[in-house]
Structures are given as C-alpha cells and as structure tokens.
Symmetry: C2
Subunit: 464 residues, 2 copies
C-alpha cells in the first residue's frame, strides 16, 4: 500500500535465470500474488525454460525420445500465467545500489536496464572446461544445457562414428557412458582419479568401476587429458593423456560444474568458499533484504558436517525456488539444508550416497567407524535376488549416523532415503537397528540391508 | 557362579517354538554364551525350523521352486551349534512356579518335564479358521506353516483343478490370489469387507481392488462364507455365501491370525487386549524375571498411537529374537516398538502402509488431515514411468506425521520406509517437505511423491 494514495503499489520481481530455481520461484510467487500486486519479469539467455538437465543423458541415450519431454513448462506456458519471461536475454550486470539489472538481447545485442523491487538470482552452474588445445573442436560436447544435448545429438546423428571418449567419471560421466553405450558406441572413460564416482569412497567406487568394465566400457584411471587432436576439418579425432592416445569420433565432457556467480561477484554479493552465493535459511542473499538466490549458483548448508557445500541438483533447485517464491509472495518457508543425497545409475547398476564420505568426516574433525555389508535387494530365495553393498559410517562414541553409500541392482538406490531421513533426525546407528522398515520377500530380506549395516555399525561403535 | 563352590553353574535356556523368534533368540544367546555356560533346549512341534512363512505364497506360485530355500537354518544346523532342537515335540504346559515345561513327542505321545532357568516363549500365531460346515474338507488349506504350504501344493499338483477360491483379502489373501493365478487357476476372492487390504484405508484399498479385477481375479465383496460344500469323496466343491455359490477345486484360507497364547494363558502369564503376551522393552514377559517372549505371540507397542497392537510379521519376530538372545546371553538390547510398516504385492502392483489409518487415528483420539496425491515412480518423461498414489495423514495443529499408504508399481512399496523413519523420529509433515530424498530421473520425479504429499499435507495443516 502506498501511504499517500492508499492504493496498492505494484511491485516488480526480477528473476535472473529461466530454469528450475528461477521459474519455480516465479511460479510460486505468482500463485501467492496476482499480477495486479506483483509484476514478474524473468530473463533467460538460452532457448529453453524449466527443463530437466538431469534428463539429458536419457535423451541422448534414447530412453527419452522427445526433447520437449524434458521441458516441464515452456516460455509460452509461463507467459500464460502472467510471468514476463524473456528468452534469449542475458543479464550482464546487477546494480544493487540502484536496484536494477542490465539485460541484453543475445540476438540483437540491444541492452537496457530493468529496475526491481525484489530480485531472484538463479544463474545456475557452468561446466568446468579445462583450457586445453582442441577443447573447442567440433565433436567436443558438454551436456549442461538442453542446447548442449541437442548439439551432441546432432553430432551423433551426423558423424555416425563408433568411438566415444567421456572425460570425467562423476555422475555426468557415468550416465553419459551408459547413453553412448546404448547408442552403440565403443566407450572409453578417462578419469583423473583411480575410481569413478568420487562422490563415493574409493572402496565403493571400485564396485562401480568393475560394473562399468563388465559392461564393456574401457576405464582409463589416474589419467589427465592434455590435448585433443583434430583432423583437417577441425573435428576431434583423438584424446591425448600423458601416457596414451584414445581415438574419438565424439568427446563428452563431464568434469563437474562450478556455481555461475560472475554477475553476483561483480555486484559485490557474498560468495562462499566454493564460489556459490551465500544465503540465509529463507534463501535470501546474506545482508540483502530483497535479493534471493537459489539453485546451482548457491551454497547449501550440509546438516551433517555443519559446513557449506556446493551441490548442483535439480531437486534442490526446485525446493529453493519453492521457498523463495513463498517468501517473495508474502508467505513463509525455509530451506534448512541438505544431507547430501545423490543417486545415479549405469545400466542396471544403481549408485547412491548420502551424508559424509570418510574423507568428509575426517576433514570436519569427526572420528568414525565404518562397516560394509553385502546383502540382497529381496529375500535371498526370491527370483533374481541381487547383491547390494551397503557402507555405513557412524561417529565414534555417540554412534551418530554420518553417511551411507549403496551400490547394487534394482531397489538399491532409493534405499538410501532411509539414511537420508535418519541423518536429518540425527539418529544413532543403535536407534536405526530398531527401525520398522518394510518387509516382504519380493522387496527385502527379513533384515533390510540398511538394518544389517546399522547392527554391525552399532556393535563396532560400542566396542570403541 | 555358584557362591559355595566358586564354579560356573550351567544354566538351561528352554525355547518354545523353533521358528524365527525362538531360533533367533537361541542363536544369539549361543553367540554370547558357550555351551559350557548355557544349555539351550528348543521344542518345535512341526517338522521345520527357522523358515520364512512369508515366502510360502511365492513357493506356491512357483517363483521359488525349492521348499528348502525357505528354510534359513535346518534343525541339523542348529544342533551343530549346540542348540538341542527337538522337532516334532509339542510343549503342552508351562509350570511357572516350578520353572519347567512339559513336552510331548507328537509321534509317540511320550511326555516329560524339562526344567529351565530361563524360558523363551515363541509360540507364534494360529490362523483364524471359522467353524463352518465343510471347513475340514479335503482341498481346504491354510498357509500358515511350511507343512500347510506343502499340503496345498500337493493338492494343486494332484487335483489339476481350474477354480480356486481364496477366503479373505488381507496380505495372505492377495498374495495367494497371485500365486494361484500364476498356477493357471481362475481365482475368486471372497472378502468380508468392501475392499481388499483392510490394513489400508478403503480409498486406497479400492486401488488394489481395481488392480486385482484387472488381473482377472473375481472379487466378491461384503460376503461372508457360510458353508463349504463337498463331493462324495469329501473334497471341497463349492464355497457358499449368503448370496451365491462359487465352484472351487481348491480353497485357501487367508482370514488372518491370532497370537498362539493358550499355553501362556494357562500358565497365568499376562495377555493384552489382542490376546498376545505382554512384554517389557527387553522383551521380558511383564512381571516375570526369567521368561521372555517374542514373535507372533506377543503384542508390540505402536509408537504412533502409544497403544499395543498384534502384528504377525517375520521381520519383527527376528528382531525380537535378536533382542531376547542378547539379554538372555548377558548383553543388552531393547525392542522399542513398531510404527506398523507392512508391504505386499499382487503381481506388479505394490502395496505399502505405515503408521495409522484414519480409523486408527480416530480410535486413539487424534484429529487429523489427510491428503492423497498421484505422482510417478520415476521422472514423468522416463520410460515406463508409472502412477503411484500416496496418502498421507498428519495430526491437526502439530502437523505430526501419523501415517502413509502407497499403492503403485515398481519402486512404490519401499518408498514407505521414508515415512517409517519419519514416524520414528516424530517428524512433522512440514519438516518432511525439506527432506533430502534421492533424486535422479530413473528413480524419482524431481519432487519425490512422498515430498509432494508432505507439501500438500503441510498446507492443509496450516489452514486448520
């Protein structure tokens, strides 16, 4: 309300970034406040809004046949809900003092200032792309955006090659290895570390390594790419490491991502040790009453270690957007933090983790015990019962659960959710032994694998 | 230690019942105390020890081909670990005052007293078997014990009939309907209630009803069996209800079970409202220092309602046995209670529940809100994404989670474990909205169905 006229003043919310966090925030704010009360302008430099980047490997691999299936809501759909979403428009500057952003039409180059009452920064993450010779050659692809995925698919369709090299063996690397395998490629994964999935402890990563090798994927460990060689047309032909060369008709980069916070940094907004924006529990940028941030560009509180982390994951981005939109819209919500749950798969091998790895626990000063158990996803006598390996980490003395990693077949990955809830509730492994987890022969042995691990961990903690 | 001689006195542990609870207790006690310190004598009236009764439907249905696969540990294996397991021996009396039990060899009828220092009662449950004409006819089978399963399989093999009637539509009923369907029978399920799975609320039971009908199972609702008609040879031919007659070459009874506590009752041990033995948290029979009880013959504390319940489930029986064995063996363990988690399936329909149903909540004086959401087991765009229905019940005002029911396809059942842990931790639905549950497109939509339900429930609680 304007104090002098008594009329409702229409505020303007500006959103930078048209994907999960930004558009969830915009949509939730719109649900709570009508267009008469709140104008919403959103800028997205790309061609797509609100899409599932996590779905790209399954689109490239052919499980998902339509690109548009990955788009949760199109620009037109957002506009139909009174969100002024401007595609192909890049924000180049945030002027915090004068509460405005400068945006440039990517195609025309035209730029102008737009003022805001409230600002949401959802600029996402950018892939790590080492500056090496040949990195910009044709046939070298990241898979961060839908545009990236389309470009890779175009290459796969056009070149009809047979050899693919994936650089990096984290989530994106292993998922893209599966995708390229499904497309009939001979796949080589070049990995800096000794095991894939560095988000697991090495002993669990080894299980993934074995499974990938069994799938016919060539795993090149402890290898650093030094150069990409191209042919006369500027197309990539070989991936070079210190020790060897790997022929490649296509190269996919999956080396990881960093928070995209160059705009925020230039505007003097607070960044954390991992380069992400720092927010409070309401997802408001620290020290700034009317600026919110969420998604892959922020750091989140790890509830287990008590420290900030950077995790680029669609599910967090959506939650952040929901929280921001609720607060901007005049309601109330918080994002208390994460416990670090993440899932992945390579063909039928399921990979899950939550909480701290051994090295995380060590780094934050925790002493711990670890146990690893082998069990099965269903009763041992049930058809196709498959081995599941569960590693559990518990604090010494207190017995508090610190982390769980699971590698197995069907039904393995989502079992980690039990540990995610237990971590949130700060349960001890002793308490976990009594959990009333679902049992029936098709779904679990009579002692669920997580309970078996908890029992063994509890015994070990008691002995220390 | 004997105070006068200074020698270790060898105590005798007597166990009544050679299945999950009894033999888990015996095994765990043996792990902790050697045969020099503790003699263990166990009586089992049947022919099998330590077997999975929950596996019987999958054996009858042909998923499990060997009966012995259901036996976790044979009598010989128990004896090899210095447990004097006497098969075919029924305990007929417990003499608490003189610390002894009377046991009778079922074959010879010979009976004698065996004294104990410590006693474990693990007499299990007995199936409800209404006293109706024809109930004892050939071709009418319960499926409580491995002997029962064998008898049913013999009938199925011998008679080569085509029509099966299952009486009862709880876990056993629906699982046996699947088993008989797999064996090529036309299956009719006669159910007292209007929906199968009375352990769910009727609105969720309706989903199971529809799926069973779609599978070609004839569902007869609101029907009470009044009589079984037999042919000249005394074989069952028809199942009769008040309204109709159903031809049957075989009849399977799945009407439920009651705690088998006639021995305990005769001995004056304390029974609860559901007819089960009452124990303390260490699984000791209340008021009796040296008598423990566990498994299907006891009542357990429901941590959500704060009241005792009777739940016959192998996973609880195993935990009870573990706790009893630890305490008898001189270690320490407790069984704090259950939240009422149970899973089942009919072909590829998965059914799960935990916590309170609406009527349970009402009965214990709780006011609540309910929400039901439809979501999918994986990202909507992922191949074969299947609908999953999640019902959530939360207490008014406090927002505490009270119960969750899930019906869906692959990946539905074990999702209820998240709610089981949240119930144990007494979380509110508001707290649950922030849970860091595992996300990747093959395993979950970006908002896990449980989170979608929690968000909706939190909104509803706030509005009240």
């Amino acid at each position: 309300m304007d104090k002098q006229t008594g009329k409702t003043v229409r505020e303007r919310l500006v959103v930078i970034g048209g994907d999960a966090a930004g558009m969830s925030a915009a949509s939730q704010a719109r649900r709570l406040r009508s267009a008469d009360e709140l104008e919403i302008v959103a800028f997205e430099r790309g061609r797509f809004s609100s899409y599932s980047a996590c779905g790209i490997p399954y689109w490239v691999g052919g499980d998902v046949t339509e690109r548009d299936a990955l788009v949760a809501r199109t620009p037109e759909e957002h506009r139909a809900r009174d969100i002024d979403l401007r595609m192909g428009t890049e924000v180049t500057e945030i002027d915090v003092a004068r509460r405005r952003v400068r945006a440039r039409d990517v195609a025309s180059g035209d730029a102008s200032w737009t003022s805001y009452d409230k600002l949401v920064i959802a600029t996402g993450a950018r892939p790590v792309r080492p500056e090496l010779p040949g990195m910009d050659a044709a046939g070298v692809h990241g898979v961060q955006t839908l545009e990236d995925g389309q470009a890779l698919l175009d290459t796969l369709t056009r070149t009809r090659g047979s050899r693919a090299v994936v650089v990096g063996a984290g989530y994106i690397g292993v998922e893209m290895a599966e995708a390229l395998l499904k497309r009939g490629y001979e796949v080589t994964v070049v990995n800096r570390g000794s095991e894939p999935m560095a988000t697991l402890d090495p002993d669990m990563g080894r299980l993934v390594h074995r499974a990938m090798t069994d799938l016919g994927i060539t795993m090149v460990d402890d290898a650093e790419v030094t150069e990409l060689l191209t042919d006369g047309d500027g197309r990539v032909r070989e991936v070079v490491t210190a020790d060897a060369r790997y022929p490649a008709d296509v190269v996919v980069l999956g080396i990881g991502v960093r928070p995209e916070t160059s705009l925020a940094a230039a505007a003097g907004l607070p960044l954390g040790a991992h380069g992400g924006l720092l927010t409070d529990l309401a997802m408001r940028v620290r020290g700034h009453e009317d600026i919110w941030a969420g998604g892959d560009c922020v750091e989140v509180l790890d509830l287990v270690s008590g420290q900030e982390r950077h995790i680029a994951l669609g599910t967090h981005a959506n939650k952040h957007g929901q929280v921001i939109g609720s607060n901007v819209g005049g309601d109330y919500a918080t994002f208390p933090g994460v416990v670090g749950t993440a899932l992945s798969k390579v063909c039928d091998l399921e990979i899950a983790r939550t909480g701290l790895r051994e090295k995380d626990a060590r780094r934050v000063g925790l002493r711990f015990e670890t146990v690893t158990v082998e069990s099965t996803n269903s009763a041992g006598y049930y058809p196709n019962a498959a081995v599941m390996t569960v590693k559990m980490i518990a604090e010494r003395r207190t017995g508090r659960l610190l982390g769980v990693q699971i590698v197995g077949r069907e039904g393995a990955a989502k079992r980690v959710d039990v540990a995610a809830v237990a971590l949130t509730a700060r349960m001890t492994v002793e308490q976990m032994t009594a959990l009333d987890l679902g049992y029936a022969p098709p779904f679990s042995p009579v002692w669920d694998p997580v309970l078996v691990a908890a029992r063994k961990a509890a015994v070990k903690v008691r002995g220390t």
